[in-house]
């Protein structure tokens, strides 16, 4: 997909100029506040753009700030424990400065989220059908009967067998995979144009994961919504995403179209990740790990956050933080935050 030009799609924008991107996050920062009021920065100026109908994967290890960035964009971080800075514009409207009631109306209708843990995201005391129907009723003010019919239809669309019967079941009566389908049904109930999926299959078995990813891809195709996939799994992103952003210690280190990123990683961290991941093909010699441990949020190294673990560390790395800038071989699609990006002219 050519992401460098803006898409003009059949879907009319709400009220903003046609050229405003679907979701444009600029310089997002998140400070987590401790009880004593001390602030700790966990997201350090993250910027990315999600275009119409595309899938962008945000890849990072635990503690890289990927999930908390998504929560910040969704406005789901409680103001008492987190402070969010920067901007997140949905078709030109900055979500972060939107009054809560307007944001609430937008959430679900324009932007929806699928969480990792469907069991805790669903209310255990209510039937799943009721929960889906409530989502529809809350936003569209339709009658009980119509909401119910649409909920059953949605359950069928996410391939839940006997939807009319299972409408009356409670979350614990479903398997993990089925619960995740219900979460997805709730997320797509109002045909949002942005779907944020936060580790949607991490809790699931590999055969069920394959089913869920297939379902997400199909629904995305049908509805034409864009997908922001938050994951730690390089394989999952490779199979789904159009573009990929690699996060580390609260920053984006590299961003590129999927094939380019996997074929010719420009950032040493990306290359390290790709070398460290066990594969089903190729030799089975020792893997090449990245030495060390990701830094905790409290004690980030000066300069580039990755430099203590970097094999190609240079003199500037310890003092100067690199900016995320267009880089060879495919600017402007590829952005890299590294003083000494890898020679990517040759193939891997």
């Amino acid at each position: 997909m050519d992401h460098t030009t803006n898409h003009t799609t059949a879907k009319a924008p709400l009220n903003d100029p046609l050229d405003a991107p679907l979701l444009d996050v600029q310089d997002l920062t998140v400070d987590v506040l401790s009880r004593s009021g001390a602030a700790q920065r966990v997201v350090h100026g993250v910027s990315f753009t999600l275009h119409e109908e595309e899938t962008l994967a945000l890849i990072g290890e635990s503690g890289s700030g990927k999930s908390i960035s998504a929560m910040a964009v969704m406005g789901l971080l409680p103001a008492t424990t987190a402070r969010v800075g920067g901007s997140a514009r949905h078709r030109g409207t900055d979500l972060l400065t939107l009054p809560e009631d307007q944001f609430r109306a937008l959430r679900g209708r324009r932007i929806a989220m699928v969480f990792q843990d469907a069991l805790s995201a669903l209310n255990p005391t209510l039937t799943v059908g009721f929960q889906i129907a409530e989502t529809i009723r809350a936003h569209e003010g339709v009658g009980r009967r119509e909401a119910r019919a649409r909920a059953v239809e949605l359950m069928a669309r996410v391939r839940i067998p006997d939807p009319a019967l299972r409408y009356r079941d409670h979350p614990h009566q479903f398997s993990g995979g089925m619960r995740q389908r219900i979460m997805i049904a709730m997320a797509v109930a109002l045909s949002p144009d942005v779907l944020i999926a936060d580790e949607p299959t991490t809790a699931l078995d590999v055969t069920v994961q394959a089913q869920i990813m297939e379902l997400l891809a199909e629904l995305r195709e049908e509805t034409g919504s864009a997908l922001l996939l938050i994951t730690h799994d390089l394989g999952l992103a490779a199979g789904t995403a159009d573009r990929v952003a690699i996060m580390y210690a609260g920053r984006i280190l590299e961003q590129a179209p999927v094939q380019e990123l996997y074929d010719r990683p420009a950032h040493p961290y990306t290359r390290g990740l790709l070398a460290a991941v066990p594969r089903l093909a190729g030799d089975t010699d020792d893997l090449t790990p990245i030495p060390g441990t990701p830094p905790g949020p409290g004690l980030l190294p000066a300069g580039c956050a990755f430099h203590p673990r970097c094999p190609d560390v240079g003199e500037r790395c310890a003092t100067q933080e690199p900016m995320l800038l267009p880089a060879l071989p495919d600017p402007p699609a590829r952005l890299v935050a590294c003083h000494y990006p890898l020679e990517v002219s040759g193939a891997r």
Binding site: G239, A276, T284, T293
Partner: protein, 342 residues
């Protein structure tokens, strides 16, 4: 690998195997009170497993949640008594020994657990954790030598012995798993049973720990039972692979055979479902996406347990439980399927 060239030892070792499971069955009763009105269901967690671990090799055990991996771990470790069948460590049934002798013999077979956060006592220091096995088996080493051996172990697994007095919460996940490995090595065991030892770790750290396992094996000639759900990880450590489905082993063979030419439809589906970290593989033909969830072990299907999700299923699969094929029939492996691939 060509079929006609036998490259490794046979699956069944001659002589006394290091670790052997024979007809292992474990049924649990679940639900209902002893005198309650509700009917109690029997969970067939492990339902007839035969395994052999060869000296110096790694047996990978793969399966999805609920397939009985964890129960099998507990049985192999003699932490639970099987409903029937035996586990033999060097030909000896540990559970048949008197309890003091059983506790002594446990030193040969050690466990590495999945969760590096819950498997370490939060109140103990790194040194105390690694030394604990020696405090239990006090006859092995005089008290004075234990601390220095513990320091050596920390060094061996790549931890800074200078951090010996830190508590688990002061270590990262990968470092905690190294601590767990150091503890498991303290008694110089012959076998390590590793229950999902790297699945809680991030990719970059996971590779460090996988390499550590391999280096320790080369150094000490350890044998591993490596239990995992991640087929890509298992491929990097195992010499032999056994695939479990609903309490049974459906396919068992040497790694290259199982990965390159899976014979059981479930193995094929499992391999096909692993996300490939290469976008080129996208849209490749022949990708198998199974429908439905694994059935509940309280009510396993009749015949072949996999027939409810299998695309090759026929009448015989519903009626008859397949018996493992002889080793030679389909390459160097055993498969329990009426219609195996070749």
């Amino acid at each position: 690998m060509p079929d006609d060239v036998p490259t490794g030892a046979p699956l069944v070792e001659t002589g006394v195997p290091l670790l052997e499971a024979r007809g292992l069955v474990k049924h649990y009763r679940s639900g209902g009170l002893p005198l309650g009105g509700r009917r109690r269901a029997t969970v067939k967690a492990v339902d007839g497993v035969d395994l052999t671990l060869r000296r110096g090799s790694t047996l990978g055990l793969v399966g999805e949640s609920g397939c009985g991996k964890s129960t099998l771990t507990r049985l192999l470790m003699a932490l639970d008594r099987p409903t029937s069948g035996t586990v033999l460590v060097e030909g000896r049934d540990l559970l048949a020994l008197p309890s003091a002798e059983l506790r002594r013999r446990r030193r040969d077979i050690q466990l590495v657990m999945q969760d590096p956060y819950t498997s370490l006592d939060p109140r103990m220091t790194a040194l105390e954790i690694v030394r604990e096995p020696l405090d239990i088996h006090r006859d092995l080493m005089p008290k004075k030598e234990r601390a220095s051996w513990a320091h050596e172990l920390l060094h061996m697994v790549g931890l800074d012995p200078g951090h010996a007095h830190r508590h688990p919460h002061q270590f990262s996940g990968g470092q905690r798993q190294r601590l767990g490995i150091a503890r498991a090595l303290a008694l110089r065991p012959k076998i390590l049973v590793c229950d999902e030892p790297v699945s809680a770790l991030d990719v970059s750290v996971q590779a460090q720990v996988i390499n550590l396992f391999k280096e320790l094996q080369r150094e000490f000639g350890l044998s591993y039972v490596f239990i995992a759900h991640d087929l890509a990880v298992v491929r990097h450590v195992a010499d032999e692979v056994a695939v479990m489905y609903l309490g049974r082993i459906v396919e068992h063979g040497d790694r290259d055979t199982v990965y390159s030419r899976p014979a059981h439809p479930y193995t094929r589906a499992l391999l096909s479902a692993v996300p490939d970290p290469d976008p080129r593989g996208r849209g490749a033909t022949g990708r198998i996406v199974l429908q439905g969830d694994p059935p509940s072990p309280t009510r396993p299907p009749t015949g072949c347990a996999f027939h409810t999700r299998c695309w090759k299923s026929e009448e015989i699969c519903v009626d008859q439980q397949p018996v493992p094929t002889p080793e030679s029939a389909v390459g160097r492996r055993q498969v329990s399927c009426h219609f195996p691939e070749n």
